[in-house]
Every structure is written in structure tokens, then in C-alpha cells.
Amino acid sequence: MSHPTTLVMGPVLYNWDPEAWRDFYFRIADEADVDEVCVGEVVCSKRTPFFEPYIGDVIERLLAADKQVTLSTLALIMTKREMQSVRDLAAMDDDNITVEANDVSATALLSGRPHAIGPFVNVYNEGTLAFLAARGARSVCLPVELGRDAIAALAKDAPTALEVLVFGRLPLAISARCYHARAHDLHKDGCQYVCAKDPDGMEVETLDGKPFLAVNGVQTLSHAYTDLGAHIAELQSMGVSRLRLSPHQNTDMPSVAAIVRDLSAGTIAPEEARARLAALNPAADFCDGYFNAAPGCERMDG
């Protein structure tokens, strides 16, 4: 059975110049055909003070544009200060804003009221999904490594709306160590915010020059951008009702949203969508291996 499809702009995962960050969200508010927009720092708490002065304006602009606003929490919480920031978010009482838990601590704090589960909480099976739904989760963005069979099994009689990342670099790992800092012979404590040099992540190549991964501070992402455009009709038929796009600075995200909207409405063919996506970022490689139960890096379907 098909459900109305919600398009979700995921949080900016990178350390963008604060004005670029603000302008990106303003443009999403004004121009992008998405239903919901995630705002907030997911990767490194040290970045929050930079965009904090603009977050109020961004939320206001998104709400004024009739976008649902979701505040995403940190994925890996280690310090008291980080824990407090999640407590503050969870304590927010605003019907217009949903909080997305990216760590089990946030799911615990949000229990008993409607909330979202982000892709950094491990929901691999029906048991976990049912448990979280019973505590108030209304939507769950699934871990990126789940394939077709697992998604279909979860979508069958799912007690929450299910969301799948369909565009953008795959978040693969998070650490206490900052690899951006390490690559620049620095430590995390004195990182000089070098991750800001790479607004879409620092490219990591193998020793024989093959593009491989991308480092974003304490996070490691895929080099290739996931593109599940060819599988959107199948995802919809399984019952997946939410499609997530992960923002990149060098890719025109309103145009990506338009392509995915067309795909979800069935008004363009996957082949055309693929060509249009490739044109938006000619330097990017694309992958869809995970969906096909293959290594995530592989590109299998057009």
C-alpha cells in the first residue's frame, strides 16, 4: 500500500560558515519542495556556538514557509555539557517542533511524548521498533546499512512512519577522536575548527588514488553519495513514507528535492532522475549497494 510521501531535509552534518549555514536554510525555506527540515548539530558540539545566533531566525523562516521543523540531537554524547544540551532540547515544549533523537539518551528523555528517531540510533528489527513506538516515537530514520529485505520486513505493519536516506553521503561512523584534527597534526581540544575547510567533508583516497571516504571531524562518511532514486517506487510500495536528503554545499539541494519529489510522484523515470542528479554534481560518484544487500559502496541500479 502506498502512503503520502514526506520529504525530509536532513541536518547539515558539516561545519559550514555560519552565514552559509543560515542562507542554506533560508533558501530551503523559500525554494525547496520539502515537507520537513532538520536543524541542529549532530556531529560535534564544538560547532554549535557558531550557528547558534542564527538558529532562531532559521526556525522562524522555515515555520513561516510551512515546513515542519525537527531539531536533531547529537549522535555521540560524552560530556556533561553535551548531555545538558540534549536535556534542554528534550525539555522544549513547542507543538510546532519535533525533536529527533540521535542517541539513546535522547530517546529516554523524550519518552512519553511524540518524537522522531534519527539514523544514529540502532533500529534494526521489529522488537526495537515496537519498543520505541510504544514510548512515543512517531518516525524512525533507519540505519543506512539496511537493505531491501530488512526494510520490507520492518515496514510490514510498522508501528511508526519509516524513513530512508535516499540522497547524500552515507554517515558511516562516529568517534571520540577528530580525524580532521589528526590529519592536520592537531588534537581535538585544539582543533582550530579545521573541519570548516571542507564543507562537504575531507576526501580520503586509498594509496593507489581511489576515492574512498570523507572525513567530517569526528564523523566518517562515504565518498560516494547514496542515490536510491531507482528504488523510490519500491520503497513507497513497501510502506516507507519518508525520504531523507542529506545536505551538501556543492550540490543544489532544492533541485535534488525537486527530482526526488518527481520520483515519488511518479512523474519522471528513474533514468531521467539519475541523469539530472549527476548533472547537479558532476564530480560525485553514486552508490546504492546497501539497498541491494551488497557492499554499500557499489552502484548497482540506474
Binding site: 555521540l76 554524547i77 560524552m78 560530556t79 553535551e82 548531555m83 542517541d103 539513546v104 539518551s105 530517546t107 529516554a108 528523555l109 540502532n122 534494526y124 528489527n125 521489529e126 522488537g127 526495537t128 521498533l129 519498543f131 540505519p143 546499512e145 539496511l146 529485505d149 530488512a150 526494510i151 520490507a152 520486513a153 520492518l154 552515507l170 558511516l172 561512523a173 562516529i174 568517534s175 571520540a176 577522536r177 577528530c178 580525524y179 584534527a181 589528526r182 590529519a183 588534537h187 581535538k188 581540544d189 575531507m202 580520503v204 583516497e205 586509498t206 594509496l207 593507489d208 588514488g209 581511489k210 574512498f212 571516504l213 572525513v215 562515504s222 549497494g289 551488497a294 557492499p295 554499500g296
Partner: protein, 329 residues
């Protein structure tokens, strides 16, 4: 100060005996399938092997913990449920779980079976730990290898359950249970299949004087003549980033926190975990005996009681105290 419990790994019944005989307070092991995070060929236990091992260990006052610490596959949870049911029936002293659904199942079906939270659950803060303790009556949490000594001390003051930390062996540099690097390259997932950088995806190729190690389609390292060619664990590989070639994520080192055991005791840690279920019985015996004497010395107030030098058996003959020191980050 009560003695910290020494928890040793066992991939085979012979390794388990070696751990018991050399002073382990507890041994952790898994069944021979995808229900545990060390699902490698030739490793782990059948049900009869666990039964015999339990008799051997319990007769010597040693506990056995059963690790069922992968995330059950959607549509196919039965092997995981069966593992818990069998562990309970055989009388393991605790199960080590990571998945919320599995914790819910175990709490309901086997309320008296002691539950530990696996490092794979990545519980790194008081709210997460309180959630698992309050909801599933988890008695002990294995802390992820991301916390500094200071953070562990602060955490222990805020929670009421026991904590267990890794002190020796392989060093995961990513938050455990939240790493898909291996599946991105090999299609096999630590979280689902219980394997990281599996041998079936490894290839070594000679290129003139050089040795190339690959995982899946990617070169993980290239060794010049005379350099020891290590196993291509993805996060211990050499890569190019920002125009520089380096061990970007981590050098090919092992964790060895032997020098800070008194500090871990002072931080309120209840148990020390040795990594290495894939290791042979001689290795297990040596590490267990070494840490046994160190833990005993601390408990008796004998100062540092540093274990005998274990450098020779660490990976790459190098060691690190990892995330326990702030500079690691």
C-alpha cells in the same frame, strides 16, 4: 577498595580453560553464529561446549558471560531469541546484550537472568545508562572506548550500575555499534553479521617489492620491502587525505591500559575487560595471568603492580592507552 573483576575472552573451549586456569574472574564467549560480534570461522561455542565449559568454570569459581551482542535481523529474530533461551537454560551467569528489542525480550522471558549492556550499545552518558538500568534492570554497562579517565570518573558518580572497561587488545577507534565502515566495503556488518573486516574480503597482492593489502575493492595499505604486512583492518589502514599519507584513523596499535589500572579503580570501574576472542589459548593464558597479578596487587594495596611486559604480543608491537588519555583525541 574491592578488587576489580577480570573479564577474559574465549573463542574456544581451550581458550576458556586457559582463562579460567590463569585467574579470570569471568570469561565471555558467544555461540557459533551471527548472534555475537565475533562471528569468525572456527571460533565460538556449540551448546554442548558451553555446557561443559560452564561446569569447568563454575567448579573453579569463575563466571561465564554469554555475548549476544549483534542486532537481530529484521524478519528473523529467532536465532537471537534462541541464544538467550539456551544461555538461560544452561545457566550462564549473565548475557551481554546490545539491542533494545533483545533487552525487552530477555527482561520479559528471563527476568532473573543477569543482563549486561554490550559495548555495541554505545552507551556513553548517564542518561543512556540510566535508561538501560531502569528499563531493563541492566546490572553492568560495558563502556565504549571513547571516554577519558576523567569522563569515566564523572559518569560513575552519576550512575548506580557497574561499569566495565576495555584494558587490553584490539582498539576500536569508532564508537562501537555505530560503525558501518566494514559493511560499506565488504557487505558484511559488525552490527548484523558480527564481523568487521572479515577474512573472506581480504586479499594480499605482491607488486614487485611491495605488498598490497586489500579489503573488498579498496587498498587498505601498501608495505615496502622489510615492512611487516599487517591485517587490513579498515580503520588501521594507510590513506591519503589533504595531500598527506598517514594512518588517518589509527596506527596499527593495540590498547594496553595496564599502566593506569589504579586510576581505573579510583574512577569506580567494577570490571576490566580483555579483548581477543579470536586469540589462541597461549595468548589468553599470558594476558590473563599478567592482569591477574596486577589486579591482585592493587587490591592488596601493593601500589601499581604493573603487569609483566606484554609488548611482544600486542599488534604491531605497539601499544596505546587509547581514549583514556585526552591527547588520543
Amino acid at each position: 577498595m574491592s578488587a576489580m573483576e577480570l573479564v577474559c575472552p574465549a573463542g574456544t573451549p581451550a581458550a576458556l580453560k586457559a582463562a579460567v586456569d590463569n585467574g579470570a574472574d569471568a570469561v565471555y564467549m558467544g555461540f557459533r553464529d551471527a548472534t555475537n560480534a565475533r562471528n569468525f570461522p572456527g571460533l565460538n561455542f556449540s551448546r554442548p561446549e558451553l555446557e561443559q565449559s560452564l561446569a569447568y568454570a563454575h567448579a573453579r569459581n569463575c563466571k561465564i558471560f554469554l555475548a549476544i551482542n549483534t542486532f537481530p535481523e529484521a524478519g528473523n529474530p529467532d536465532p537471537w531469541f534462541q541464544a538467550v533461551d539456551d544461555g538461560a537454560a544452561l545457566g550462564v551467569d549473565a548475557v551481554i546484550l546490545a539491542d533494545i528489542g533483545m533487552l525487552a525480550y530477555t527482561t520479559e522471558k528471563h527476568p532473573d537472568l543477569r543482563r549486561h549492556l554490550s559495548v555495541q550499545a554505545s552507551a556513553s552518558n548517564p542518561e543512556s545508562i540510566r535508561f538501560y538500568a531502569d528499563t531493563f534492570d541492566v546490572k553492568r554497562v560495558v563502556l565504549p572506548r571513547v571516554l577519558t579517565l576523567g569522563e569515566i570518573t564523572a559518569l560513575n558518580k552519576e550512575i548506580s550500575v557497574e561499569t566495565e572497561v576495555f584494558v587490553f587488545g584490539g582498539l576500536c577507534v569508532m564508537a562501537e555499534g555505530r560503525c558501518a565502515l566494514s559493511s560499506y566495503v565488504t557487505g558484511q556488518s559488525p552490527n548484523v553479521n558480527g564481523v568487521c573486516s572479515p577474512a573472506c574480503a581480504v586479499r594480499y597482492e605482491e607488486d614487485g617489492d611491495r605488498m598490497i593489502s586489500r579489503l573488498g575493492d579498496f587498498t587498505i595499505n601498501i608495505f615496502e620491502q622489510g615492512e611487516a604486512a599487517g591485517y587490513p583492518t579498515l580503520c588501521k589502514g594507510r590513506f591519503k587525505a589533504g595531500g598527506k599519507i598517514s594512518y588517518l584513523f589509527e596506527d596499527p596499535v593495540s590498547l594496553n591500559a595496564a599502566s593506569i589500572l589504579p586510576e581505573l579503580a579510583a574512577a569506580g570501574v567494577s570490571a576490566l575487560k580483555i579483548e581477543g576472542r579470536q586469540r589462541g589459548k597461549a595468548y589468553i593464558a599470558q594476558v590473563a595471568a599478567s592482569f591477574r597479578s596486577a589486579v591482585d596487587a592493587i587490591a592488596e594495596g601493593g601500589g601499581r603492580g604493573a603487569p609483566s611486559d606484554l609488548t611482544a604480543i600486542t599488534e604491531g608491537q605497539q601499544k596505546t592507552a587509547g581514549a583514556y588519555q585526552k591527547t588520543w583525541r
